[in-house]
Assembly symmetry: C2
Homo-oligomer: 160 residues x 2
DNA sequence: TATTGTTATACTCTATAACTATA
DNA sequence: TATAGTTATAGAGTATAACAATA
């Protein structure tokens, strides 16, 4: 991809403006998150993980014994889609599905020792990715960024 | 429900923790953006638009006469995928594809008057959505939020 | 030889209905 | 009757290769 410069071979449109979209914080959130997502996916690929499989490991690690329905809700994905994710993690011996005697419909999910080890290594790599992404921010800026994002996340969306 | 609860409204499942993921600003960015995206998509649906078709209208409006390749680059999508988007917008008479005499390979994209009208109405609705989303933030918080996001967006990602 | 727009295609992600086995 | 997990499937979204027309 060649960059546009002030060369006469470029007809009349050297730079594309996104002024209308730039007035919106949500647009800037999307552009910033695209950069974060590309970098974190590259980091996780070294562990054979994607954002969703890493997140699943982290949630199972924080909540040993939870059910697939609970994990699906925590990841905000539909139950049918979670099945293949847990299949993959179980097939790689990172997560175990244990039957629950008190309710034989549900599985209790747990990290295997290998899953715990991979999660720990991946979490360290994601920490380094985070440091890279936020290196231009001082502590106060990052604190306000996080608190502002949490307020947006907590917005009570009302439909008209 | 057959278990005796201290609170009758409290479900019998414990709260799921996302403590490991919450240490990451990128995770909070994703959670916040999910809320923004759901709301803006609901807003745009009333105009028969999605985020990508609204963005395309906005970019064409800001850059009349640009080519499909330039629009694809501005939207960060591949050229083949843009074709169906422009097909849709052209089929609804929101955008016109005009032949360029100086380079007959390219199309000059422009809003039709109906496209300009729809863009203006949708932009007003998105402004109201933005006000809803950021209503918990004061001016300083929002300014720091935007500047922090722009710094993240500008992060120079280096691959090892 | 390179570029614009296009077709075809494939792979991922996501969403819904319906099934089974349990409760 | 309801719930957990599952299967099948369909719709988006996204990516690459290759082609015709044009430069």
């Amino acid at each position: 991809m060649d960059r546009d410069d002030a060369d006469s071979t470029t007809p009349d449109r050297p730079r594309i403006s996104d002024a209308t979209l730039r007035q919106f914080t949500g647009y800037t959130m999307k552009r910033a998150f695209n950069v974060v997502q590309a970098d974190v996916n590259a980091v996780l690929e070294e562990f054979g993980l994607r954002m969703v499989t890493y997140s699943a490991l982290a949630i199972v690690g924080d909540n040993p014994g939870l059910s697939q329905s609970q994990l699906a809700q925590a990841l905000a994905i539909e139950r049918p889609n979670l099945v293949v994710i847990v299949d993959e993690l179980e097939g790689r011996d990172l997560v175990s599905r244990d039957r629950v005697p008190t309710d034989r419909r549900t599985y209790a999910l747990q990290l295997t020792s290998e899953g715990a080890r991979l999660l720990a290594r991946a979490t360290e790599a994601v920490r380094r990715h985070e440091a890279r992404i936020t290196e231009g921010l001082n502590a106060e800026e990052e604190a306000i960024l996080v608190s502002a994002l949490k307020k947006i996340e907590a917005t009570d969306i009302r439909r008209s």
